[in-house]
């Protein structure tokens, strides 16, 4: 049933990036995916990503981000 990585596909993730530069769990959404291992790999990549938080007036703030991740075999 699980889909292996035979060809490249894009997975689109949306999440709130917190003031600490980490994706917040509530609201994490898979907006586009063919499913299977593509989703799993994209989530693993996102977990390893490091972000600088957005800022206004020098203070870090929460922002909503849509992040496309191209998963290749």
């Amino acid at each position: 049933m699980r889909m292996r990585l035979h060809e490249p596909h894009r997975v689109l993730l949306q999440f709130i990036l917190g003031p600490e530069g980490k994706p917040e769990v509530p609201g994490l959404t898979v907006l586009e995916s063919v499913g299977g291992d593509y989703t799993r790999v994209a989530l693993e990549i996102l977990e390893k990503c490091r972000f600088e938080p957005a800022q206004t007036s020098g203070k870090p703030i929460r922002v909503l981000i849509s992040l496309p991740i191209d998963v290749r075999p």
């Binding site: 689109l12 959404t29 907006l31 499913g35 989703t39 799993r40 989530l43 693993e44």
Partner: protein, 248 residues
């Protein structure tokens, strides 16, 4: 005789004429009712389009002119009272009838934010609210039903999930992940959208998404036809999905 007959005609006008004379704005009100109908149908379409891709409804007010130019017809203002991952409610005002508002709600909305008595019904209030009759309009336009929809013959039900090989550090029972997903009419979980409402950590959330997608479901049915339903997990399971535990 002829002049008396004419006088009689003038003095006994029909009921339609009487209505016109008491309410000179009725033509405008009828036009406004039609515009309201259109306004709500576009609004519902926009919200369901959003739900079909994001699994939440959004108070669109701040971005209306950019995102929905068709809703920005002259004199109309849309005010959202509530919008979440399980419902929305809004009232619509028009410059020509100050103090009159028409509103509705869809899905799960706090009682205080329900402009109408039933979901999907458009109710108008205010001085001339009794004259404005929008609709009928279908506010369910995306063929997605909530699993809790009372019109379903049977809600979707999980049939089984394969064994999942989870990392060791996630193999702990009683870790709850709450999320929303779409169950297609063929009983599979739609790979997207999937929305996490809450989880102990990012890794649990990611694992739950992968687990859920491999589960098989009996789809929801309405009028004996399998339909696409939005399920909120674990609410509709009757039990919890336990990430780290083997699933049935």
């Amino acid at each position: 005789m002829r002049s008396r007959a004419i006088l009689l005609l003038v003095l006994t006008p029909g009921p339609g004429w009487a209505q016109e004379s008491r309410d000179p704005d009725s033509a405008m009100v009828a036009r406004l009712s039609a515009q309201m109908t259109y306004h709500f149908s576009v609004l519902a379409a926009a919200e369901w389009r959003r739900y079909g891709t994001h699994l939440d409804f959004v108070p669109l007010t701040p971005r209306l002119p950019d995102e929905l130019p068709e809703l920005a017809h002259d004199g109309f203002a849309t005010v959202f009272l509530e919008a979440s991952d399980s419902g929305w409610s809004a009232v619509v005002l028009h410059d020509s009838l100050p103090g009159t508002a028409c509103g509705t709600y869809v899905g799960n909305v706090a009682v205080a934010n329900r402009p109408s008595t039933a979901p999907g019904e458009i109710a108008c209030t205010g001085d001339k609210g009794r004259l404005v009759h929008p609709g009928p309009v279908s506010l369910q336009v995306m063929h997605i039903l909530f699993a809790s929809d009372p019109t379903l013959d049977a809600p979707p039900k999980i049939v089984g999930c394969p064994e999942v090989d989870l990392p060791k550090d996630l193999r702990q029972p009683l870790r709850h992940v709450r999320m929303i997903s779409l169950i297609d009419p063929n009983g599979t979980v739609s790979p997207a959208p999937v929305r996490v409402l809450d989880a102990p950590s990012f890794r649990y959330a990611a694992a739950a998404i992968v687990v859920l997608e491999q589960c098989r479901w009996r789809p929801g049915y309405r009028d004996r036809l399998a339909v696409r339903t939005a399920v909120r997990l674990p609410d509709v399971l009757g039990r919890d999905i336990l990430v780290g535990d083997s699933l049935p």
